[in-house]
């Protein structure tokens, strides 16, 4: 079956611009996660959705970052007034369900964002 897909695969923008990054999770997965991976580093958690609601947004670095998942499937990560420090690979992952035990998170290929 299809895995997690992310679009675009690459995004180049200018400082100060607004960008949207899209994630299509595996069909039927209720949990969705966004991570940010800087060069040479491990992924860092940004936000977690259970269904349509953001259950944990503690990883969002500031109020320029916002994410939505209006119908409980596709999610969009939105970054306002982009800064050069926002340059990174943005990874999306989905998981079958949330529970008190760990469920494997399946990652997409990521969107490489470059802010000039």
């Amino acid at each position: 079956g299809a895995g997690v897909s992310q679009t675009p695969s690459n995004k180049v923008t200018e400082k100060g611009k607004y960008v949207e990054l899209r994630c299509d999770p595996i069909s039927g997965h209720t949990a969705l996660y966004w991570y940010r991976q800087s060069l040479g580093q491990g992924p860092e958690f940004l936000i977690y959705f259970q269904g349509t609601g953001a259950a944990d947004d503690s990883g969002l670095p500031n109020d320029r970052f916002f994410a939505v998942r209006p119908e409980g499937s596709v999610s969009t990560l939105k970054i306002q007034r982009t800064e050069r420090g926002d340059s990174a690979v943005y990874l999306c992952a989905s998981s079958p369900m949330s529970s008190s035990s760990y469920n494997e998170q399946f990652f997409g290929p990521g969107t490489r964002l470059t802010v000039l």
């Binding site: 996660y33 491990g42 860092e44 958690f45």
Partner: protein, 115 residues
């Protein structure tokens, strides 16, 4: 705060050798420890995982050793192959509390296996 520390940053091994990657964690609330493998241009993929109630888990050529008292765990790749060349990340997960849902990753180890 770096809650999961991983070493070495890079590792070069000859084909057939053993690759060993180490991780240490600080948060005793972590209760699940997966290892991820990432190839260039791809997202991380789950390789093997362990819970702290066991000291070792083996799947094929991959083994996790876990030392709860030392808060350390390691990945051993036996009979390393060139196809194992990738970046490896340890991670930790806490099923309870306010950390619910998120993985905390180490910094990654770039493994190169020479033929």
């Amino acid at each position: 705060q770096q809650q999961v520390k991983q070493s070495p940053q890079s590792l070069i091994v000859q084909k057939g050798g053993i690759s060993i990657i180490n991780c240490a964690y600080e948060n005793t609330a972590f209760d699940y420890f997966p290892w991820y493998q990432q190839f260039p241009g791809k997202g991380p993929a789950l390789l093997i995982a362990i819970r702290p109630d066991v000291s070792e888990k083996k799947e094929g050529r991959f083994t996790i050793s876990f030392n709860k008292s030392a808060k350390q765990f390691s990945l051993h790749i036996m009979d390393s192959q060139p196809g194992d060349s990738a970046t490896y990340f340890c991670a930790a997960f806490n099923a309870g509390g306010t950390s619910y849902g998120k993985l905390t990753f180490g910094q990654g180890t770039i493994l190169t296996v020479h033929p």
